[in-house]
């Protein structure tokens, strides 16, 4: 693997490339979730907000609190909608005043409002999160990160399990979060990268080929391999 990627704060950076080129693997290095597999070795430097994420001093739990992740398949926990939203805070700051009584309701409401899910679910917050539609589940998976105020959100093909309509809704949502959060969006859907990102990085066979403003990358790619890819010659 040979990757050098500098992600700027507050914008959406998309990561494109053919299936199997290592996008997910790279993304999963950032919050070190790769390590749960046990057989993954990571080399090099990953810095999050100026801190080396692989420094032995780093507390994994704190790192992952700073770096949220949205998965390809929506994976709400098999508990209520409300408990999903409060899960992170209950874990990280169990004594927080935000969790007491009506303050918790406010946390839940504002997180759900931010992902445009509130009106749909406000009357049944105690229902199992797994009973929601996939689109709603994915919104919930984004919403549950927000109370922890992550500085970076990693999204690994967040729309690939969804139908086109839901995809559009989630894309709009991602675009709405832009500015408040730094987002890395992995996708193999070029149109999506084009629509929903400020900068775009193209990867091929584990290598970073090109990283520029999205519009520039798609209109005037510098590298021949990028040009071939966006014209659909492989991938």
């Amino acid at each position: 693997m040979d990757v050098d990627l500098d992600v700027k704060r507050g914008i959406i950076t998309s990561l494109i490339g053919p299936s199997g080129c290592g996008k997910s693997t790279l993304l999963r290095c950032v919050n070190r979730i790769n390590e749960r597999l046990g057989y993954v070795r990571t080399e090099g430097l990953v810095e999050v907000l100026g801190h080396d994420a692989y420094d032995p001093q780093v507390d994994l739990s704190q790192l992952r609190r700073q770096v949220g992740m949205v998965f390809q398949r929506p994976n709400p926990l098999p508990i209520s909608i409300r408990d999903n939203i409060l899960f992170g805070q209950r874990m990280h700051e169990p004594d927080s005043p935000d969790l007491a009584g009506s303050a918790a309701d406010d946390v839940v409401e504002s997180a759900l409002r931010e992902v445009l899910l509130w009106d749909g679910v406000k009357d049944h917050l105690d229902r199992a999160a797994t009973s929601l539609s996939l689109e709603e589940q994915q919104k919930l998976c984004i919403a549950r990160l927000l109370p922890l105020k992550p500085s970076l959100i990693l999204m690994d093909e967040p729309c690939s399990a969804l139908d086109p309509k839901a995809t559009a809704v989630i894309e709009d949502l991602i675009w709405k979060l832009r500015g408040d959060y730094t987002i890395i969006l992995v996708t193999h859907n070029m149109a999506q990268a084009r629509r929903a990102s400020d900068e775009c990085a193209f990867m091929l066979m584990g290598r970073m080929i090109e990283h520029r403003k999205t519009d520039d990358l798609f209109v005037t790619p510098k590298d021949q391999r990028t040009a071939d890819y966006i014209e659909g010659r492989y991938g």
Binding site: N31, I33, R36, G38, L60, S61, Q62, L63, R64, R65, G68, M69, F71, R73, N75, P76, L77, P78, I79, F87, G88, R90, M91, H92, A128, T130, C141, R144, L145, L148
Partner: protein, 308 residues
């Protein structure tokens, strides 16, 4: 050309050949094997009921059976059939067994399912299964010889064959099967739940406590229920370790007598058709209904999760 594409010697479409016959035969065989379980259960139930019901309709008194602790079926002057002490004996030993078995088996299941990897995991699973295969008379022997002395020495009591002894033995006997079922329940929790929680910064222990255990709770409950069922039904080890004396226990150091042990010890010495004989079958009927209800509940509890 056309003879290549359509060979003249084609098998007739309506010919039933050997494979067809074998398939039909296998289907019938599987069906018979499948329903034989039902046939056996109904048959056994009918047999026990027939032997027991004659007693239930003649000599049986509800108030005496469930309300009296006097089990003296062989008394010449005044035979009595109070099963309360036996029921309490079985319940207390089973309760004690669960106090022992639940922490053991859940702890082992969590370790095997969530922490152990590779060789350790496989070795542990084999060991647990081996433990489940120890004959109950061996456990009873351990209770009678080792545990008996140990309890007398450690707690300074006069008899070591009591609720504590039988409960520990029974707990150790029930723990392996409970571990296996609980481990299956934990394994059935999809890994993406763990991943989701870990990605939010949950530690290993938080993942287990807040995600895995709640998600597996039905399976765990059914593991416990099956353990209880095992406790009610176990005979030999309880007979040997409980002291086998009719008693309403007031402490874990009291000897008790279990329903199962009573049947095992007395049935051989009764005249077929006598009141005593019928009373023992009534005990059996009662046991059968209880274990049946427990196992059915366990099964329904497990199905509960699948539906959700």
């Amino acid at each position: 050309m056309s003879s290549d594409a359509f060979p003249t010697r084609r098998p007739a479409l309506d010919r039933l050949d050997g494979a067809w016959a074998a398939d039909k035969a296998a289907q019938v065989l599987m069906f018979v094997a499948g329903i034989s379980a039902i046939v056996f259960i109904l048959g056994i139930f009918a047999f026990i009921a027939r032997e027991g019901l004659s007693f239930v309709f003649s000599r049986f008194s509800f108030a005496e059976f469930f309300g009296s602790i006097r089990w003296a079926p062989t008394s010449n002057s005044n035979p009595t059939f109070g099963a309360l002490a036996l029921i309490v004996g079985t319940a207390s030993v089973t309760g004690m067994a669960m106090i022992v078995a639940i922490p053991f088996s859940l702890g082992a299941a969590v370790y095997i399912a969530e922490f152990a990897r590779g060789r350790t995991r496989e070795t542990l699973k084999v060991l647990v299964e081996l433990l489940a295969a120890i004959p109950s008379v061996v456990w009873g022997f351990i209770g009678l010889s080792i545990m008996n002395k140990l309890i007398i020495d450690v707690f300074d009591v006069s008899v070591g064959l009591n609720v504590l002894n039988a409960g520990i033995i029974l707990g150790l006997m029930a723990a392996p099967i409970m571990t296996t079922i609980a481990e299956d329940a934990l394994k059935a929790v999809p890994d993406r739940y763990r991943e989701a929680a870990e990605a939010m910064g949950a530690t290993r222990w938080q993942v287990i406590r807040r995600v895995v255990l709640p998600a597996a709770r039905n399976g765990l409950a059914s593991a416990v229920l099956l353990g209880v069922g095992r406790g009610f039904g176990e005979t030999m080890a309880v007979l040997m370790a409980s002291g086998h004396s009719i008693n309403l226990p007031t402490s874990i150091f009291d000897s008790v007598r279990a329903l199962t042990a009573t049947i095992a010890a007395e049935l051989g010495e009764t005249a077929v058709g006598s009141d005593h004989y019928g009373a023992l079958f009534t005990l059996g009927l009662f046991l059968f209904l209880i274990t049946f209800a427990i196992n059915l509940t366990a099964d329904l509890v497990v199905r509960g999760i699948r539906k959700k």
